[in-house]
């Protein structure tokens, strides 16, 4: 049977009787028997045709827009069981692809013979969509609250907690049921609650945000700092929003900064060191009192000066270079000793430590310059240095003396004891000897021994004379003149050996006893001419020059040389002979050494067998 439009009577429109519902009359199987005018606006009635109503359309769930199976539809349930169903919301897809939300109520109508069941349908699209929007907003609000570290309260103008939002209920001072609907003056200490109530009043009166900070007394949040913002709510006069934020960390770091600042200020102003902050160019930004005292400038004067202008010119370059390194971050700090010019003009030695302070972008903000007046220390150090130098001279002299005493011991042991023991033996042999020839030989030997002993004693007294003659007068000796004199003494030997002598006197004169200098020249040249290599033309180079403030006299030959590792310790000793086949007594170098050492000098040798020999005489240059 073709369903047809039929003006259903108002009495069938139960349960909703506002006259806007659509009404459907169905038979036992669900075929539409009739419908009212409204239905045409709500359902695509022409699509249904002869189909059963429950099969004709696809219904969707409000919650997730999923398709609802027929057996779950409320009116199908009524059809099956006869049970009345009220206000079930299902969606229909419109041709535009939107959802139309409809409310379905259904019941059987046994009192009517011409129909089995009636369905009342009304459009709830607007409601459903609004509801959906609200749910969405609620979700967003929950997300927002969850992301807040703050506590948000809604509080009445009298101070009663109406509502709260927080991401973490541990942040609350009380459990929700302990503070909701309670007045804050019953919950918080007077000092906080009174002030809060005042601020609520102020916020409402002037419609502006009021703030206060407080420290928690609650055991659960002991010592924490909070900031409370009391905010009026738009168009509302009877309550406010209160936002409470934990600012402990901020307070703590502020406190730390304040402490550090204080520490630095104390250190800066009351330091025993002179301290200044300077820019990269050396201009003073700030200076402390100690610095004023050291440099003689007042604080005002200091603030206008550039320290580089008051640095000794000799100290500028190093200081500047180090500052550049510091500015580039190559070093963290450096310490130097430099001279600052005092206001009165004289220079003051300071030990200066400079470090750099960089900003967050790692750019140089300023230098911290700390300086200590070390003029006195410097002066004392100079005195000590001088005394040390004097002591060293004394030490050298004493060492020389000890060495010389050891030499004399050796001389006594070997050079005196030998001839004496000879004489002793000769005398005792003479006593027993009957052979007249041998007796005569022994008498000759006695004379020889005696001569040798006499020679040795003479040489010894010559040396002793050198030792005693410490205050011998010094003359202004000219090396060239002395050389000429000595050269003439050796002219025979030089010519016979075809020796070539060259000179280079970079130091022309020296204060020295002429007799000694001549003797030194004589002995060393004599050595150089004596120990020549017969296969090489002798070349002797004599020169003077300055080294470490001392005058050096050097005489270099190309002779046979000497095995230094073996002989050096004995080279300058009394009566030491190192070369076979040369007529030599071994006394020359010993005397030379004494003539050098007597005035604080040193004699040294460089040589190797076959490599020639260089004698170096270092004359002590006294600071006076």
């Amino acid at each position: 049977m073709e369903p047809h439009y039929h003006a259903l009577n108002e009495q069938y429109s139960y349960p909703i009787t506002l006259g806007v519902e659509g009404l459907l009359a169905l038979d036992e199987e669900g075929h539409i028997l009739s419908y009212n005018e409204q239905i045409k606006l709500l359902l695509p009635i022409e699509k249904i045709g002869n189909k059963k109503f429950q099969d004709a359309l696809i219904f969707y769930r409000v919650e997730d827009q999923s398709i609802i199976p027929i057996e779950e539809l409320s009116f199908y349930n009524t059809l099956q069981t006869g049970e009345k169903q009220i206000d079930h919301n299902y969606g229909l897809m419109t041709e535009e692809g939107d959802f139309k939300w409809l409310s379905f109520s259904s019941k059987l109508v046994p009192e009517r013979s011409d129909m089995h069941m009636i369905i009342a349908i009304s459009d709830v699209t607007k409601l459903i969509n609004e509801n959906k929007d609200l749910l969405e907003k609620k979700k967003q609000l929950q997300l927002l609250v969850a992301s807040l570290d703050d506590l948000v309260f809604e509080v009445s103008k009298d101070g009663v907690f109406i509502n709260y939002w927080t991401s973490n209920s541990d942040l609350l001072f009380y459990k929700p049921d302990e503070f909701l609907n309670k007045n804050l003056s019953d919950l918080f200490p007077l000092a906080i609650s009174e002030r809060t109530l005042e601020l609520i009043d102020k916020a409402l009166t002037f419609n502006k945000v009021c703030k206060m900070e407080f420290i928690s007394n609650f055991d659960t949040h002991k010592g924490k700092w909070y900031k409370m913002k009391i905010m009026p709510i738009h168009l509302t006069k009877d309550r406010v929003a209160i936002v409470v934020s934990d600012i402990s960390e901020k307070v703590e770091s502020l406190e730390k900064i304040r402490f550090n600042q204080h520490k630095f200020n104390q250190a800066f102003h009351f330091s025993g060191l002179g301290i200044s902050l300077t820019n990269l160019k050396g201009n003073c930004i700030e200076a402390n009192k100690t610095l004023s005292k050291i440099l003689g400038f007042s604080q005002e004067e200091l603030s206008t000066i550039n320290f580089l202008d008051y640095t000794h010119p000799d100290d500028l370059e190093f200081d500047y270079k180090q500052r550049q390194k510091l500015a580039k971050g190559e070093i963290d700090s450096f310490t130097l000793e430099k001279r600052y010019q005092h206001k009165l003009g004289h220079y003051i030695w300071c030990s200066v430590t400079i470090s750099a302070v960089h900003n967050q972008f790692n750019e140089l903000s300023f230098f911290i310059v700390q300086l200590q007046d070390i003029s006195d220390a410097k002066k004392n150090r100079e005195i000590l240095e001088r005394q040390k130098h004097e002591l060293e001279l004394v030490k050298i002299e004493l060492e020389t003396k000890v060495k010389q005493l050891e030499d004399f011991n050796q001389i006594v042991a070997h050079n005196l004891r030998g001839p004496v023991s000879n004489i002793h033996m000769l005398l005792s042999e003479l006593k027993d000897e009957s052979n007249i020839d041998i007796k005569n030989e022994y008498l000759d030997l006695l004379k020889t021994s005696n001569d040798s002993l006499t020679d040795t004693l003479e040489e010894l007294s010559e040396i002793l004379e050198l030792r005693e003659n410490k205050n011998i007068l010094k003359d202004n000796c000219n090396f060239s003149l002395i050389y000429k004199k000595i050269y003439s003494q050796f002219i025979g030997e030089i010519q016979s050996k075809n020796a070539i002598l060259t000179t280079d006197f970079k130091v022309k004169n020296i204060h020295y006893p002429t007799k000694y200098l001549e003797s030194i020249f004589n002995n060393l040249l004599s050595n150089a001419l004596k120990f020549t290599d017969p296969n090489i033309a002798p070349q002797i180079h004599i020169r003077t020059y300055v080294e470490d403030n001392n005058t050096i006299f050097s005489i270099e030959d190309n002779g046979i040389g000497i095995d230094l590792p073996k002989f050096k310790s004995q080279l300058f000793m009394f009566r030491k002979v190192f070369h076979r086949g040369f007529d030599t007594k071994g006394i020359g170098l010993f005397i030379t050494r004494y003539q050098v050492e007597a005035l604080g000098g040193k004699i040294d040798i460089k040589s190797a067998p076959g490599q020639g020999t260089t004698f170096l005489v270092r004359f002590l240059t006294t600071t006076t």
Binding site: H414, G418, S421, H424, M425, S428, E429, L445
Partner: protein, 129 residues
């Protein structure tokens, strides 16, 4: 006998020559190098005649101790044939102690040399004769 003291060499030579018990031959050297040349030669000729060596310490070119160092390298076969004595006028402790480094040295003779003591020393080395 190795000593740079010419006078001592003459006296020593006479002392040895007039040794009463049996004839002795004496070689005199004025320095250690010459003495070593002699021993080197003797060694090459496989001459194993026993000798008594008297060496002064303080000599030019080579000291008595340096000569001892050289002799040490000649080996025990050579050294066992020799009786070695140091003669010196030195009374210094260091010279006396130096002897301990050379176990093959038989003794230390102080100058001036006493003829009686020298003869006794030679007799003690040759108890069989």
């Amino acid at each position: 006998m190795v000593d740079d003291n010419a006078i001592l060499r003459v006296i020593f030579n006479n002392m040895i020559k007039s040794f009463p018990d049996f004839p002795l031959e004496v070689n005199l050297f004025e320095n250690a190098l010459d003495a070593l040349d002699y021993f080197e030669n003797k060694k090459q000729q496989l001459d194993i005649t026993p000798e008594i060596i008297f060496v002064d310490i303080n000599m030019p070119f080579m000291t008595g101790w340096e000569m001892m160092d050289k002799l040490e390298h000649y080996g025990s076969d050579f050294l066992s044939q020799m009786n070695i004595f140091i003669i010196s006028s030195s009374t210094s402790r260091s010279d006396q102690e130096q002897i301990a480094h050379y176990p093959f040295i038989d003794g230390y003779l102080l100058k001036p040399i006493d003829k009686i003591k020298l003869y006794e020393l030679i007799r003690n080395l040759n108890p069989g004769i």
